[in-house]
Structures are given as C-alpha cells and as structure tokens.
C-alpha cells in the first residue's frame, strides 16, 4: 500500500524533524497520558500512533514511516517482564535489533530508529527520550527519503 | 600484594611526619609498596580553595593526571585534607563539563592529559578492604590488651563522600582497634569537628570544640585518641595544656595515628613508628618495644 506524503501546512522557517512514535497501550501510551496529566512538556515533533502491544509493530510499519517522510521512528513498550501480553515486548526487542542493523545497512543512522522501554509511570523518561531524539535528529538533518 | 601510588601532601612531610613514618613502616611490613607520585604538588585544599576554587581543582587534577601518567594505579592519600581534595576534584570534574574544560585547558598547556582513571584511596580502606581483617589479624604479634582507644575520624574522610565509611555511624576505626587487640570506647563525637580550621581563625570556638572532644574521650576513660588526620592530631594534641588551665579539667590524653596503633600491635618499636615524636606517649599495659 503506497502512501502519499502530505506535508503539513504550518510552514516553520527552520526545519523540524518528524518522529513517528508507536506506543503500546499499557505502558508507554499510559506514560504519555501521565505526562499530559502532570503537564510534562516535550518536543511536539513526536506523533503517537497507539497499538495494543509493541509486539504488534510490524517492521514494515517502520519502513513505511521512513519511506513516507519520517525523519525518525520511536517504539515505546513495557519493560522486559512487564508486558501486558506476557512476552510481546521480547519479540519487539529482537525485531528492533535486526531492523536497526538492516536500516544502518541501508544508510539510516541508528539514532533515527529507537526502541525504548517506557513504563506507565515514566513520564519523565518519555520526556527525555523524545527531546533527546528530536535533538539528535536536528543534528542529523532531514532524512528526505528518495527511493529508486 | 597490590602496590599503590602515594600522595603524601605537605603535612605528612611536616608536622604530620609521625603519620608518614608509621604508615610507611606498617605498609612495608605488610608487603605493600607505596611509590610517591613523581613531581606531585599541593593537593589544592584549604587555603587555595578559598582563594580560587577552580585553581584548587586544577592543582588536584594535576596530581591525578601525573598518577595516570605514572601507571594509573590507585593513589593512597593519607592526609584527610588531601584525600578529600583529590576525591572532590575527581568527582566534580566528572560532573561539570565546564570545569572539565578549564582543567583540560590548564593541564593541556603543560601537555598533561587527564582522563579521570585513577582511584583515590584512604589507607584505612586499603588496610581493611584490600589487605583485609584476616591478614591484619595474622600480622598482630602483640595485641594491645586493656588499651582503651577513643577512635576519632575527623570530618573530611567521611564527608561528603562516604567511601571510607558511614558519616553518621562509622565503624572502621573500631574494627581496626579490635584487630590491634585494643578496646574501642563508645562516645558520640567520633565524627565531629575537631576545631582544627577554626583554631587558626576564631580560636575560642575552635578550642571549645577540641575541649568537647577531649572531655568526651576522657570521660569515656580512653587511654588514647586514635585519629586519621594530621590536622586533627595536631589540634587535639597541642592545645591540651592550655585547655587544662582554662577549663580546670584534666584533658590530657595521648593523640596517636591509627597507623601507630596498628604498628605497635604488629610489634614495631616506638622509634620506627615515631611515637616518640608525639607530645604524649601512650602508656601501654602490655610490654612495649620490639617483638616479644
């Protein structure tokens, strides 16, 4: 399925990286909610896509995100041992290891793809993770993917 | 046996020489070699710190850097002031990048790189952690029976870094005392200020603090105060007579270094341990002098 890349209207003078974030419903999405409730501010470059478990994330989603204009992709899941579905996050962990390597072989820096365990009460960790990633990407510059 | 680099600092070369003599004697006997850091300089403590803190740190950092260049073994810093100054420099440089920059710049001009690799150790740690109670016990040939000791830590080796022992309930000196066969007495001042710094400034306050300490040790019926710091030793020792006069209390009590105590228990004589250089020579119940 091909996706048209639709650039957003709000044209900011300085370039801002786009981070697509896949968060699991139980830990990292909950952390994001907590961040909201506790008014913990973080970079708006990150846009959440909610899935029930980080184990739902098909590596193809990540590839698609890069292909359609993401400068970085962040996956957030429950800490090892804490998966709401027992062991989904372990699959994510292993897929991410392989995917990260493959992306680097394809010239995509490892800072652009991150898997982080962010628990339901880790609003601060979420903040630092997102802000750091945004900074890293600003340093790396746009990915502006061009296919064949 | 592990070998160490050695940072004597100014006082062990001066007023604190009994400390150095006894330390070297004891370590030699335990088969530990101490190599002086080549071309070491002031640790940057006290006076310097109050004039230019950053420069103080740089001074300390130079010693650490020299140690790295020497061979990067652990540094043994017996003087509490030096121990704190070096530990503090290491910690602060690691924590504050801008300070690190200053240090790098300063040392860089002398072509001296600083990586922060070496560890700063206090002899007490080395004795109890590296050598270990068992070897120490074996080395004791003359347990100091019925010798009542008031262990005194001073401020610097426990605060703010509790690497040597807990700042609130320290016990290592007690342990060492027991190993030496002596009896540690319990009193609440063992980690309180000796007044040292103040006797040079606000003398009345400094002396009051010393008095509190001596009084407590006396009323705990100690035969001697055993300390870890040249400044404490000096401060607690030299003002005793004056305090006796001013307070009309008997505050006379020997103040010795833990290395001297251990040395005695290891059967060394008072000259080797420079105990004869103390104002008040502790009186031992057990026969003094060389190996029995």
């Amino acid at each position: 399925m091909a996706l048209a890349v639709e650039k957003s209207e709000a044209s900011t003078a300085s370039w801002e990286p786009r981070i697509v974030a896949f968060f699991c419903n139980w830990c990292t999405y909950a952390a994001a909610d907590l961040a909201g409730i506790s008014r913990v501010k973080y970079s708006p470059n990150m846009r959440m896509v909610r899935v029930m478990c980080s184990g739902r994330i098909d590596p193809s989603f990540v590839l698609e995100a890069f292909r359609s204009g993401a400068d970085g992709v962040l996956i957030g899941g429950c800490n090892p041992g804490d998966c709401h579905y027992k062991e989904g996050n372990y699959k994510t962990m292993r897929r991410a290891m392989l995917l990260s390597q493959m992306l680097q072989d394809l010239g995509i820096e490892k800072e652009r793809f991150r898997l982080e365990w962010i628990c339901a009460s880790c609003a601060r960790e979420l903040q630092t993770t997102v802000n750091k990633m945004a900074d890293d990407l600003r340093r790396l510059g746009p990915l502006d993917w061009k296919g064949v | 046996m592990k070998d160490y680099l050695y940072f004597p600092g100014c006082s062990l070369k001066g007023a604190g020489s009994p400390y150095e003599k006894s330390l070297l004697a004891v370590f030699r006997a335990l088969g530990i070699s101490l190599t002086e850091i080549p071309d070491w300089n002031c640790c940057g403590a006290t006076a310097y710190l109050s004039v230019d803190a950053d420069m103080g740190t740089v001074l300390a950092a130079r010693n650490l850097a020299l140690a790295e260049r020497a061979d990067g073994r652990d540094i043994v810093a017996p003087c509490s002031g030096c121990f704190l100054a070096l530990s503090k420099a290491k910690a602060m440089i690691a924590e504050y990048p801008d300070l690190r920059a200053k240090v790098d710049d300063a040392l860089g001009r002398g072509g001296l790189p600083y990586e922060g690799r070496v560890a700063v150790r206090h002899p007490l740690e080395v004795l109890l952690k590296d050598v270990g109670p068992d070897r120490l016990r074996k080395s004791v040939v003359r347990p100091l029976k019925d010798f009542r000791v008031a262990p005194y830590y001073g401020c610097a080796i426990l605060r703010p870094y509790e690497t040597v022992d807990s700042a609130h309930v320290p016990t290592v000196l007690e342990e060492l005392t027991r190993i030496a066969g002596a009896t540690p007495v319990d009193y609440p001042h063992k980690a309180r200020c000796c007044g040292g710094m103040l006797t040079t400034g606000v003398q009345s306050v400094g002396l009051r603090l010393a008095e509190i300490l001596l009084d407590a040790a006396k009323s705990a019926e100690a035969d001697a105060i055993v300390t870890t710091c040249p400044l404490c030793q000096y401060n607690l020792e030299v003002y005793q007579d004056r305090l006796c006069r001013s307070t009309r209390k008997d505050l006379r009590i020997p103040v010795m270094y833990f290395t001297q105590m251990l040395g005695l228990a290891m059967g060394m004589d008072e000259r080797t341990l420079a105990i004869d250089q103390l104002f008040r020579v502790p009186v031992l119940a057990c026969p003094a002098g060389g190996r029995a």
């Binding site: 913990v40 846009r47 896509v49 478990c53 579905y85 | -």
Partner: protein
C-alpha cells in the same frame, strides 16, 4: 471506500475542554483544517464534547447529516473512548466506526508553543480521519463474570471490602487472603485512632470477628496468593497456606498448649509486637487475633528444629490439634474480580542514622510507640524507658524518611496526625512533657485541625524545623545522660538543643517490599514512589489498567483509616457492579486469518502466549480461537504472509495513521 461499502461521511468534533485545549491550540484553525480533509462532511468545535449537549450534538448530526464515521478530538481515549462509543451507538452507528484523537494529554498539555501544538493537533486529526475512514463495524464480545471475588490483604481495607461484598448477598463468595496468622493489619496494632481518639480495637475487633463468621467470606489466613492467571471475569488463583502445625479446624484457641510448652518463659520476639514483646514457639499473635488459633514457629520449636522434644503441647491439647507433619498446601479458586489491599510498610528508621534508631537507647518508631501505648502491648499501655522508669521529656520527630531527597520525597500524609495522637497519649499515660518537631503541620480532614488546636491547648510544645540529629553528645551538665535533639528552630531562627529521655520517630509509609512481584503477578503498574498505580488519579482512583482488578488503601498510596475504608467501599462497589452485570465486554481487537492467503507456515502458533492459534493440517492453514485471543497482535506482526491481521488495528489502519501524522 469504507468497509460498509458506502463513501465515508465523517464528522469531526474538536473539544475545547474549557480552556484546557482551547488555551494551547488554535481550535478554530484546526476545525477549519479538519473540515477540508477527504471524507469529512462537517467539522465542529464545542466547549465540552463529553457533556450532554456535546453528546447530543454528535447524535443529532449522525441522524440529520447521515454521518457514517465520527472523530472526536479531545482527551485521551483511556478517558472517554467508552463514552463516545456509547454516544455513536445510541445514534445507531456501530461504535467501532468512531475514532478518538488525543489532543489534550497528547498535545495541549505537553506542548509549549501554540503554533506547533496546532500543527501537531492537525496532524493527529488528519491521521484520525484517514484511519476512521477505513475502520469497520465490529461487535464487542461479552464474557461471563465469575461472581466470586478475591481480596488480597486482611487489613482494615481488605476486611471492609470483603464485608461490603459479602453483605451484598449477591451470591458472590469472597476469598480473603491474609499472609499473617491473623487479620487486622496495622490497625490492630493501634490503641486509639485520630482525631476522635476512639479505641481502635473496639471498632476493629467486631469487624474481624464478622469477617471470620460471615457465610459469604472464605478467610485464608496465614496464606499467600502465589499465582493469578486469566483475565477479567475469569481469574484462576492459586493460594498457598503456610503450615501452622496446628489443625485450624480442631484448635479452639484455649492456649493450654502454650502454657504447656517446654519453654517455661516466652523468649522469642513476637512479630506482631515488632519484637518488643516475647512469645513462645507456640503462640497466638495477639489476644484478639482472628482466627483465634495458635500456630508454631518452626524456627523456634525444638521438635521442628531438632526433632526431639517432650512435646508437652501435644499432650496438653484435648483436641489433638497439633500436627507436626503439616506442610504447605495449595488451593485453587476461581474468581471474576480481584481487590488488592496489601497496605504499606513503615519506613525503616535505620536509613536515617543521624536519628540514632538502632544505635541509641530509647529511640523508637511511631509504630513501636503504638504498641507501647496498647493495653495489650509490651508495656501494657504505659511507655517506659529501657531502665523501666517513665520518660519525663519525649521528643516526636515528624517526616522521618518523608519529604526528603535522600529517602522519600513524598509526604506520607498521616504522620502529622498520628504524631499528635501519640503526643496526646504519651502525655496522658506518662505525664511527660512532649515536643513535636515538624516541618509543616499538615492537618487537612474533618476534625483534624481542631485536634491540632486541642493538642496545643494541652500544652504540646511544637518546634518548627527539620531535626538535624539525635545525639548523646552532651555539652552541658544538664544534657548529660539525655538524648539531645539538635534542630534549627525556623521560627525563632536559631539552633536549639533539646535534651529528652525518649525519642519517637514518625516514620513515613512505604510500599510493601514485595509490591513489584505482586505487580507482575497481577499485571499492574506502579508509580515512581512504588505504590500501585490507579487507572486515573481522579476519575478512576480504585481501578487499574488491568480490567477487573481494583486497589484499595495504602497499597495505592499513604492514606488514613477513613480514606482507606472509603476506598475499600468503592473498590467493592466496582467489583459488585461487574458481578451484578454478569458479563464483561471484551474488546474485539482479535486476530483474524485470511485462509485464502495463509500458507500454514505455523510461525504464528508459537507466537501466541495464550495458545489461541491452532494449525489445521488438513486445510494447511491456521485458525484463531477468538475466545482465547487477547488481541495483542503479535501474531499479525510476525505473520510472514500478512495473512493474519488484527481487528480494529489492521495493518491498513495503522499505516493510514502513519501517513496521517507525517
């Protein structure tokens, strides 16, 4: 085109949420933008979408504008997704043709810059619209709820919850599990409760007995929950009963065995008295213990330790209840809901060595003082010094371990009040002069400030300042032989040294040390202080992220008895609501297999932790057992043929969302 076939007619509703969203996002601009998105027939702004008028607005449009898709951009779905799904279904639309976009927690509350917040909100709504266009109608599955309830912890919270449930006579059986030999928890240790000073055991003991005799309550004392499997409505629980070495059914609690024990005198520390009092190897924890059954501590009992003893206890027992052969036994129970009421553990005062606990004589924790003050406690209600004399001056130090960067930063909430209570009781029993050292005197609550006033009137000496240390380092003759409390009096502005005979440390409340294991067993999460995390701090204070599991009392955070009881009640109500409904809705986010594509490679079979996928060797394809599927989607991500997809989280939906946010 939509799943339903007809072209999407999407309504987008952006919520101002008062000023919460309006203040941080240019809502009119967002609405204008949303209106122009493909498939959107109308976009509206409203003050509070979740309010009745807001809900009616949506229903009206669905009917009049023939909307077949609805997007609401407001708070997080965890808060109101249910609400709006109900709304659209009331208007005749399938609830799963609704999509919620999180622009409050997700944007408004976490973004500094309004322009960028607006841009982000647009992106999220764009994604939401693209997604909803593809969403398909689904039927929520419902599963039966086992009426029985498991209550973990037999303190005041657990007991109250259990009784509320049991008294409902809903046909529900309550399994109350307490790991100590007796129920009662910490409250059983108290003599009086603040602010009313009514006798704790007078209000507690009847409750304990009622729990014991209630036909609907099955009490598992001296037992622990070792495993919980399953999900809301159908939990399989394993409970392990520790051996008492006394047959509970036979023992009548006459205590003849205790008198007869070969140990003439009690010499073993009694856990209930925090080791302040002694007991024999065979004992009951305390006189009012429920169940009133003795037990034997295998670490102390000669026979169990060494295998030889006259076993005078056995002879003494007419019932022949003593059974040295007893071993741990496991029981299986099925329940539909679980209430966690595991309480707290007091802060370990040794972690503040400057206060001398464990090193200086006559320094006690508040809980120890509670025992001293209890008529059944080690000193029969009159606190005395180690030498047996009465204290003439007592210092109570607040915030021990609390509001402290080195230990716990949070306020334990109950300490100020219990300290005042202790001050009153100590003064009443010993006539001692009592000093309270506090940072801030926190007395919110009915009658609490009045109690504070009463204590001040009684002549309580209060000194404002964090105590630096408790020491025996006397500087004056008067100080000699006393505990000296050094504190900076922040009101007087100088350092005080106050000699006292006894020090009470008002330790804070901490999570039970095994909270982490419990959390994992039940699939809950913890806040950063380590207490169990509620679903929502305000709107779902006793619910958790795991459906069917509720929390009550101090396991959720420090709280006093009234609050604890209130929480226990509401947890019971939540559980009962489920029991009463009889069924639970299970999200239909299950996996589906396209059998025309599936190659039968069986990669998915090994993926499923619930064994919900089976291989059909004849057809050479796999099937998903919907009832077993929990909807994690791991199999879909793993399926090499993309033959498996997840309902409501289909690849296409997720990818549409991805395209939208970029």
């Amino acid at each position: 085109m939509t799943a339903a076939g007809e072209a999407p007619r999407i309504g987008v509703y952006v919520c101002d949420c008062g000023f919460n969203i309006l203040g941080a996002i240019d809502v009119p601009e967002v609405v204008r933008y949303a209106g122009g998105l493909e498939g959107v027939v109308l976009a509206k702004e409203y003050k509070y979408m979740c309010s009745d008028p807001g809900q009616d607005l949506i229903k009206k449009d669905i009917r009049e504008q023939r909307l077949n898709r609805v997007v609401v951009a407001s708070c997080t779905p965890t808060l109101h997704e249910r609400t709006f799904r109900r709304v659209v279904s009331e208007a005749g639309l399938n609830p799963f043709l609704f999509n919620m976009v999180n622009v409050r927690e997700g944007v408004a509350w976490v973004t500094e810059d309004k322009a960028r917040a607006t841009e982000k909100a647009k992106a999220l709504i764009r994604a939401g619209v693209r997604r909803v266009a593809l969403q398909e109608p689904l039927e929520a599955r419902s599963e039966p709820v086992n009426p029985n309830v498991l209550v973990i912890g037999g303190g005041i919270a657990g007991m109250h919850a259990a009784l509320s449930l049991a008294n409902a006579n809903s046909g529900a059986k309550v399994h109350l599990v307490e790991r100590e030999p007796s129920i009662g928890g910490n409250m059983a240790r108290f003599d009086k409760t603040f602010p009313t000073l009514d006798c704790a055991s007078c209000i507690l003991t009847p409750k304990m007995t009622e729990v014991k005799i209630h036909p609907n309550i099955h009490l598992h004392s001296y037992a622990e929950v070792v495993s919980v499997e399953g999900y809301v409505g159908n939990f399989d629980v394993t409970i392990e009963h520790k051996p008492r070495y006394v047959n509970e059914d036979l023992c009548i609690g006459c205590l003849k065995c205790v008198e007869a024990c070969v140990y003439r005198d009690a010499r073993f520390p009694n856990a209930f008295d925090l080791g302040l009092a002694k007991r024999k190897p065979i004992y009951i924890p305390f006189p009012q213990a429920v169940p009133t059954k003795v037990l034997i501590d295998p670490m102390d009992c000669l026979y169990l330790k060494l295998g030889k003893c006259k076993k005078t206890c056995v002879d003494a027992c007419e019932k022949g209840a003593i059974d040295f052969a007893q071993a741990a036994v496991r029981a299986q129970v099925k329940v539909g809901t679980i209430i966690v009421a595991t309480g707290f553990k007091p802060f370990d005062a040794r972690r503040k060595p400057q206060y001398g606990y464990g090193t200086l004589p006559n320094v006690f924790t508040a809980l120890e003082m509670e025992r001293f003050l209890s008529p059944t406690g080690p000193t029969e209600g009159v606190p005395s010094l180690k030498d047996g004399s009465l204290p003439r001056k007592v210092g109570i130090i607040h915030c021990v371990g609390s509001r402290d960067r080195n230990t716990n930063e949070y306020c334990s909430k109950v300490c100020c009040m219990y300290s005042l209570k202790l001050a009153h009781l100590i003064r009443e029993r010993t006539g001692a002069e009592v000093y309270d050292f506090y940072i801030d005197m926190r007395t919110p609550g009915k009658g609490y400030e009045e109690f504070h006033e009463k204590l001040l009137a009684e002549g309580l000496k209060v000194i404002r300042g964090r105590v630096a240390e408790v020491t025996t380092s006397a500087l004056t003759r008067e100080e000699k032989g006393h505990l000296i409390i050094r504190v900076e009096d922040t009101l007087a502005g100088f350092v005080r040294r106050i000699p006292v005979d006894m020090v009470v440390l008002s330790v804070g409340l901490e999570p039970q040390s095994d909270t982490q294991q419990l959390r994992r067993m039940l699939n809950l999460s913890c806040g950063r202080e380590g207490f169990l995390q509620e679903l929502h701090p305000k709107l779902a204070p006793v619910s958790t992220a795991t459906d069917g599991i509720y929390i009550a009392g101090a396991c959720q955070g420090p709280k006093d008895i009234p609050e604890t009881v209130a929480q226990a009640g509401s947890a019971a109500a939540e559980a009962l609501a489920l029991v009463h409904r009889g069924t639970v809705e299970v999200q239909p986010y299950t996996a589906v297999v396209d059998e025309a594509v599936c190659s039968g490679c069986q990669v998915c079979v090994g993926m499923c932790p619930y064994d919900a996928i089976t291989y059909d060797a004849d057809k050479g394809v796999v099937h998903v057992l919907e009832v077993k599927c929990k909807g994690c989607g791991v199999c879909a991500a793993a399926c090499p043929s993309s033959a498996i997809d997840q309902k409501h989280f289909r690849n296409a939906f997720v990818l549409a969302e991805v395209a939208g946010v970029i």
